[in-house]
Amino acid sequence: MKQRPWLFLLPALLLVSISAFIPLMTVMNYSQLTLLPGTQPYFAGLENFVAILQDPAFQGALGRQFLFSFLVLITEIPLGLALALCMPKDGPGVGASLVLLGIPLLIPWNVVGIIWRVFTRSDIGVLPEVFEWFGATYNVSQFTGDAWWTVLAMDIWHWTPLVVLICYAGLQAIPEEFYMAAKIDRASPWKTFRYVTLPNLRGVLIIAVLLRLMDSFKIYAEPFVLTGGGPGSATTFLSTYTSRMAIGGFQMGRGAATSLIYFFIVILLSFVVYIIMLNLGQGAGNDS
C-alpha cells in the first residue's frame, strides 16, 4: 500500500525523465568525453570544462551575455511598467491595446530577426536610409555599436509587451480600496505609486524579471539572423557560442560541457535574483 503514491506519480516521472532528466544525463555524460566525428570517444574528465572556462571566446560571450541581460532588464521592466500604467483600465481601448501589444509576441523569434534584417540592410533597409538623412552612417555588419543597439532594440520591441501584459494583469488585481485609502491619507501620486502600486506588484514584477532574465540569457535566433554574431564576435552571446562549439565545430563533448556551464549560470543567476527581489521592500521603506 505504501508504494501506491509512487504509482500515481509514475506518469509524471516518466514524462519528466524523457523530457528533462535523460537528456540532461546524456549531456553530462558527453561533457566528460572527447567526441570528434569519425574517432572513438574517450574519457576526458573535466578537461572540457577547464578548456571552456579558459577560452577567451567563452569569457567574451559570457561578459556580453551579462551586459545584454542587464540592459534588457533595466530597459524593459521600467518601460513595460510605465506602459502598463498608461493603458486604459476599461472601455474599448483595452481590447485595442492588448491586440497591439500581442502582435510582437505572436511573431516567431527568427522571423523577428528576419524583419529586422530587412530593416537594417545597407541596400534596401529603412534604418540606414534614415541615418543617411541625418548625415550619419549605420551598418550592423560593420559597426559594433550599431549591431549592439539594434539587437537590444529588437529585443525591447519584441519582449516589452510581455512585461506590459504581466504588469497590466497585476495592476488590475490591485483592489480599488488601496487607492481610495491613499487618497484619504493624502498621499501624493508618487507616494501612491511607491507605497500602493509597487508593493502590490512585487509578485508579478518578480515573475517578469525572472522571465526576461532567463529568456534574454537564452537569446539566440534574433542576433543569429541579424548579424550572425558579428561584426567579429560583437554580438556572440552564450547560446551562439554553444551552438557554434557543438554543431559548427563538431566538438560535441565541449558543446555539452558548455551547455552545462550555461545551465548552471542561468539557474544560479535566477535564484540569486529571486532571493534579492523577495527580500526587496519587505518591512523596509519607512523612509518617507
Binding site: 484619504i184 491619507d185 493624502r186 519587505q282 518617507s288
Partner: protein, 371 residues
C-alpha cells in the same frame, strides 16, 4: 470634530446609459458632532455609496455634503478631514506598523517629533505598542484592521471617521475586542463616526443613533431603543430584532372609543391612546407585536380573557430562550413568540396567546400609526 450634514443627496450610477442604476433616491441626514452613528441596511441598499459620497471618493449626482456648515461637495477626500476604514484591511505592506500609522501625518508634512508622539499615543490606545516594528504582512486581519483604524484617527484634524463593514474579515471571536477598541478610540477623541454594516447587532452596540436604509432611501434615523420599540414602518419592525416583529394583516373596528383589530374570527383590543388616530374605513392594516411581548399560556383560560387559541407549528431552541411559531386557530395567521428555555411545549400542541395592548404597534399601509 464636526457635524456632518447630508443634504438632498441623490446618486445614479452610469446616468444616461442603459445600465443606469439609482443607488440613492434622496437622502437628508445630519450626524451630530462627536456622536457614534451606524448605517444599517440590507446588501445593495446604497450604504457604501452614501459613505463614499461623504468621504469624497464619489461625487453625488445631486445634493450637497456639509461639514460644520461648510459645503465640501466639490472637494477631494484629502481636503475633507474624513478618515475611512474599509471592508478589508487596507495597509501599506512595504512599511511596518509604525510607518503605516505615520503615513498620513508625514504626507501632511507634520514634523517628525510630533509624528512620533502621535504614533505612540494611538498605538497605546489601540494596544499596538508591541508590534510597531512588525511588518503588517505577518499580522492577522484583526490587527491590520486596527492599524487601518489607527491611520484614520491619527491625524489631529480628523473630524469624522467612516467604517465600511470593517468586521467582515475579522474572526467572530475577535470581533468583540476589536469593536471595543474602535468604540474607545471614537469616544477618546470625540470623533463623529459613521459605521456601515448589515449586522444589526454590530450597529446597535456601536452606535447611539442608527440610520436604516432601504432601496436607496433613509427609512428611520433613531436610537436603538426607538427603532426597536417604535418602528416607523413594517420594514423596520421586521428588520430590527431577531426574530423581527410579528406583522399580522388585520381588519379594524372602532366602536364607542374602543378599537379592535380583527385577525379572522379573533378580536384583539388596541390601546385606547391609539383609537383617535384610527379610521375604520382603512383596509390595508397590520398589527405589529414583538415576539418577546406575546404572552403564551398552555392551559385553556376558558373564559373570555382576550387569549387567542393557536396551534404550535415549530419550536426552536436558541440557548437562553425558545422561539415558538404558532398559527391562530381558524386562520393562517402565524405568530412567533419568545418563551423561556425551560418552557415545556411540543409541536402540534395547543396554546393560548395574548397581545398586551400597550405593546401593540399599529400600521396602516405599512406605515406606523402614532399613538
Amino acid at each position: 470634530m464636526a457635524e456632518i450634514e447630508v443634504r438632498d443627496i441623490r446618486h445614479v450610477y452610469d446616468q444616461g446609459s442603459p445600465d443606469e442604476t439609482v443607488a440613492i433616491e434622496r437622502i437628508n441626514l445630519t450626524l451630530k458632532d462627536g456622536t457614534a452613528n451606524a448605517l444599517l441596511g440590507p446588501s445593495g441598499c446604497g450604504k457604501t455609496t452614501l459613505l463614499q459620497i461623504i468621504s469624497g471618493l464619489l461625487q453625488p449626482t445631486e445634493g450637497q455634503i456639509l461639514i460644520d456648515g461648510e459645503d465640501v461637495t466639490g472637494k477631494p477626500p484629502a481636503e475633507r478631514d474624513i478618515a475611512q476604514v474599509f471592508q478589508f484591511p487596507v495597509i501599506y505592506r512595504s512599511m511596518d506598523v509604525y510607518g503605516n500609522l505615520a503615513f498620513p501625518l508625514r504626507n501632511g508634512g507634520v514634523p517628525e517629533a510630533e509624528v512620533e508622539s502621535r504614533v505612540h499615543r494611538i498605538s497605546e490606545l489601540l494596544e499596538l505598542d508591541d508590534i510597531l516594528r512588525s511588518s503588517p504582512s505577518n499580522l492577522g486581519p484583526e490587527l491590520n484592521q486596527l492599524v487601518a483604524l489607527g491611520r484614520g484617527i491619527i491625524r489631529a484634524d480628523t473630524s469624522a471617521i467612516l467604517f465600511d463593514e470593517p468586521m467582515t474579515d475579522v474572526e467572530p471571536s475577535r470581533k468583540l475586542t476589536i469593536r471595543r477598541r474602535v468604540k474607545e478610540a471614537q469616544q477618546e477623541f470625540g470623533i463623529t463616526a459613521l459605521y456601515v454594516t448589515h449586522d444589526q447587532h454590530e450597529a446597535l452596540t456601536f452606535a447611539e443613533q442608527v440610520a436604516i436604509m432601504k432601496d436607496g432611501n433613509l427609512v428611520q434615523y433613531d436610537t436603538g431603543e426607538n427603532l426597536y420599540q417604535s418602528p416607523v414602518n413594517t420594514f423596520i419592525g421586521h428588520f430590527i430584532g431577531s426574530p423581527g416583529m410579528n406583522l399580522l394583516e388585520c381588519g379594524l373596528s372602532h366602536e364607542n372609543g374602543h378599537a379592535h383589530a380583527h385577525l379572522g374570527p379573533h378580536q384583539v383590543p388596541l390601546d385606547s391612546a391609539l383609537a383617535p388616530s384610527l379610521d375604520p374605513s382603512w383596509t390595508d392594516c397590520q398589527v405589529g407585536i414583538r415576539p418577546s411581548s406575546v404572552t403564551v399560556q398552555v392551559a385553556d383560560p376558558h373564559e373570555d380573557t382576550g387569549y387567542l387559541p393557536a396551534t404550535v407549528d415549530q419550536v426552536e431552541m436558541l440557548g437562553g430562550f425558545q422561539i415558538i411559531t404558532a398559527t391562530l386557530r381558524q386562520t393562517d395567521v402565524e405568530v412567533k413568540a419568545r418563551v423561556a428555555h425551560d418552557f415545556a411545549i411540543d409541536e402540534d400542541a395547543s396554546v393560548w396567546l395574548s397581545f398586551p395592548p400597550s405593546d401593540i404597534r399599529f400600521f396602516h399601509d405599512h406605515e406606523a400609526v402614532p399613538a
